[in-house]
Amino acid sequence: MAMKDWTPAYRRYQKRVVVASLGYAAALVGAVWLFKHAPPSGVLGYGLAALPALPIIGIFAALGLYLREETDEYQRFLITRQIVIGTGLALAICTVWGFIENFMPVHHFEAYWVAVVWFAMFGAARCVPGGR
């Protein structure tokens, strides 16, 4: 969708994603600094370690809000299609990698990479022809 065609709901979604992305950068830098210089322990340590995940969850929530707020049914159809294709591709990649990792000496990826792969596939799904 060209910027001039952005619906009000899509503009709100974009703003929320930008805010969450800035929050993610701040939380990640903060967590890395903290665990390097003064590593917290116990429940606080677990909580702070999970902190960078919250803005990522925020992006997923922004997507959910967008689907609820979008009144243009064609735009809603496009984003739903993008989510379904992106999720399918991400699950396929992670499943294949998991089995390779299980049987062969390859790099182990931490579970949060699932979100990274999902975002990449969600973006790539825009390029899949049909429906636009």
């Binding site: 619906t7 064609y74 429906g131 636009r132």
Partner: protein, 65 residues
């Protein structure tokens, strides 16, 4: 599903953006409906019919019919 949106728009000298504004949707959505890439829901089809002051079947026709 086929439709006469392009003709009806041309008769009124409306651009896709004009129709989109009247419908409260994006220009891309009007284009998708007009080119048959997307079949509108019943509520949107009724809205389009009201704007052109025509019955739905005078605007949309089913390929299978």
């Amino acid at each position: 599903m086929e439709n006469r949106l392009r003709v009806l728009r041309a008769e009124r000298q409306w651009s896709q953006a004009d129709l989109a504004e009247r419908l409260g949707v994006s220009r891309q959505s009007v284009n998708a409906v007009e080119t048959g890439k997307y079949a509108p829901s019943l509520p949107l089809a009724f809205k389009i019919a009201r704007i052109f002051d025509l019955p739905i079947e005078a605007i949309f026709s089913d390929d299978a019919a």
